[in-house]
């Protein structure tokens, strides 16, 4: 297990190396002067020089790369070109709404999608199965911002049950936080529910045909016990895998959802940075989200041994 862990961590190094190289070259390979690209057409020579110095653009390319990597390894992601605030500090200030929405989305999605998938598999071929599958096809085809606006129209504008937009920290009370988190969570979890429900159904169908399930039924165990204890536990590995691989969906979804619901999280920070060409912030966001994606999938790989003791590394 320890050997596998070390091998997996070592394998993640070149992946993150490529991510870093892509992020670094993104600006340098774009035609034109990188400083002028960032500063825009109206920049003064002083502003251009300040950006060049701040990004080390006067150095040779390889020196720039290694200096940049060295700083990042020390946790120094630079300073925002717009606000002159440390990028890490900016991310720290905006992380709470994003984590709140992301965690509530994953929780809601799992709580809804896994039972849906189990029921669809249990009632395979019936109208329940068809409804669940149709909803999951829709989940893949309706963009998250369309879902978001439809929810706003129904629950905030027509019925006036919930606020249209905004975010309140949970430290200011659970009520205000909760009522503002419902709609973004529902919008963002739609595609995640579609993904997890479908995989749960497929995985459960596979397992329900196994001999040990038939044996469990023959022993007289109730249907709920068969489904939960015998089938779902064995169907869990693909479900957990897809939660990890679907993490990319969550990151992209957060960027869009925060824009729709005007949530001051890191998704909104990224979009604002992109529109303002605040390159250090863009770089940091791509690196951190890619690193998080790699880490989440590493943790999930390791979680397999807990879910299925037959898996040994």
């Amino acid at each position: 297990m320890l050997g596998y862990l070390i091998r997996r961590i070592l394998a993640a190094i070149p992946v993150m190396g490529v991510v870093a190289l892509v992020v670094f070259l993104l600006l340098r390979l774009t035609p034109g002067d990188p400083a002028a690209i960032i500063a825009g057409d109206l920049a003064t020579p002083e502003q251009l020089e300040r950006i060049r110095t701040s990004l080390g653009l006067n150095e040779p390319l390889h020196t720039q790369f290694f200096t940049w990597i060295w700083r990042i390894l020390q946790g120094d992601f630079g300073v925002s070109l717009i606000s002159q605030v440390s990028v890490i500090k900016m991310i720290g200030q905006r992380i709470e709404p994003t984590i709140s929405i992301a965690l509530s989305t994953i929780t809601v999605a799992i709580l809804i999608a896994v039972p849906l998938g189990v029921i669809a598999a249990w009632k395979h071929g019936t109208w329940i199965d068809r409804v669940v599958m149709s909803l999951s096809v829709l989940g893949f085809s309706v963009p998250v911002f369309v879902v978001g606006y439809v929810l706003i129209q129904i629950f905030a504008i027509e019925f006036r049950w919930l606020p249209v937009q905004g975010f309140r920290s949970i430290t200011g009370g659970f009520g205000p936080f909760f009522e503002r988190a419902i709609l973004p969570t529902m919008a963002l979890s739609f595609i995640y529910i579609a993904l997890i429900a479908r995989i749960t159904r497929a995985s459960m169908l596979e397992v329900l045909g196994e001999d040990y399930v038939r044996t469990a039924r023959a022993k007289g165990i109730g249907e709920a016990g068969v489904l939960m204890r015998h089938a779902l536990r064995n169907a869990a590995v693909p479900v957990i895998t897809v939660i990890g691989t679907g993490f990319a969906l969550l990151i992209s979804g957060v960027v869009v959802t925060e824009s729709v619901f005007n949530i001051p999280g890191i998704g909104r920070l990224t979009v604002d940075a992109v529109l303002a060409r605040d390159y250090p912030v863009i770089q940091a966001m791509i690196l951190l989200t890619s690193g998080l994606y790699v880490t989440v999938n590493l943790v999930i790989d390791l979680a397999y041994t807990l879910l299925d003791p037959r898996i040994r590394y």
Binding site: L26, M133, I199, L249, V255
Partner: protein, 296 residues
């Protein structure tokens, strides 16, 4: 095993770059999807004839009007006819979808063939592809567009880059299994040239999964374009695309939700139809898929 239902050939799921899971639609659903897609494509092609108004014509006196004769879906904040803009918007959106599918499949096929056949290149290429796949596609796309400026070409490049690794992985996996086949060994034994082996013996194996993958990329690209435009990092806002129409409608959503609703419906129908046709094509090209994942 159950994980088979997450097919490498269908790992796309649009802009989100997450996995896509197979679905076996009934023939009635496929027929409806095909009809919907034909209607969407035809209305985009014949937008010039079908559109009741000029999609770019500004009429400040007509701003945010409800549906009326000559303006069936009403007007936007600049007095432009919403239906005409949706019809014309389909042209750009579909063009981006088809263009992204063709280019990413072509580039991915070339790299995948090399990676699958030459072991020395495989390790390097696949590490690069793993790295590219670790970057959330929408972040990479908006970063590319913001740095290179918003044009049709830039948006296409921004959409294509994250799609290429998925095609490469697919082609590589097909080539890795095909190159062990006796007919490839025979071709090598009789001294066939390398380009001939790649072109005539290995590449045809990739066509079926690539056609399926191409349809998923097309749907994914249309969605990504809409998201990029929606976030303000897409094609010039004056150009009607489904994403741009919705992006402009954001500010007036509480007054006139149809500015987001109608283009959203058309966009969703187009993506849904393309995805369903992709699933049906996969089943038609590889009947084994029909048995897999049903749990029977």
């Amino acid at each position: 095993m159950a994980i088979d239902t997450i097919e490498p050939s269908s790992i796309s799921a649009g802009a989100a770059s997450g996995p896509r899971v197979s679905f076996r639609p009934s023939s009635a659903i496929i027929t409806i999807a095909a009809i919907c897609l034909i209607v969407v494509v035809a209305s985009a092609i014949f937008a010039g004839v079908l559109a009741p108004q000029d999609p770019q014509k500004l009429a400040p006196a007509m701003r945010l009007k409800p549906g009326m004769p000559g303006f069936p879906l009403g007007t936007d904040a600049y007095g432009r006819d919403l239906l005409s803009r949706i019809l014309h918007g389909g042209r750009i959106s579909l063009m981006i979808g088809v263009g992204a599918a063709i280019v990413s499949v072509t580039i991915g096929l070339t790299i995948g063939l090399v990676s699958g056949f030459f072991r020395w290149a495989d390790a390097i290429i696949m590490r690069i592809m793993d790295g590219l796949m670790a970057i959330p596609s929408i972040l990479l796309a908006i970063a590319v567009v913001s740095l290179s400026g918003a044009s049709l070409k830039t948006v296409l490049i921004a959409i294509i880059i994250p799609e290429i690794p998925r095609v490469v992985r697919l082609v590589r996996s097909v080539v890795l299994s095909a190159r062990e086949e006796p007919y490839v060994e025979a071709a090598i034994a009789i001294g066939s040239s390398l380009p001939k082996i790649l072109w005539r013996h290995l590449m045809p194996n990739t066509f079926a999964p690539l056609i399926v993958q191409g349809t998923y990329i097309c749907a994914s690209a249309i969605l990504t374009e809409a998201i990029l435009s929606f976030l303000g990092a897409g094609i010039n806002p004056e150009t009607p695309t489904w994403g741009n129409i919705m992006a402009e409608g954001r500010a007036f959503f509480q007054i006139k939700p149809s500015l987001i609703f109608w283009p959203g419906v058309v966009l969703s129908i187009a993506i849904l139809s393309i995805n369903l046709i992709g699933d049906a094509t996969r089943d038609a090209l590889d009947p084994r898929m029909k048995q897999r994942g049903t749990g029977k």
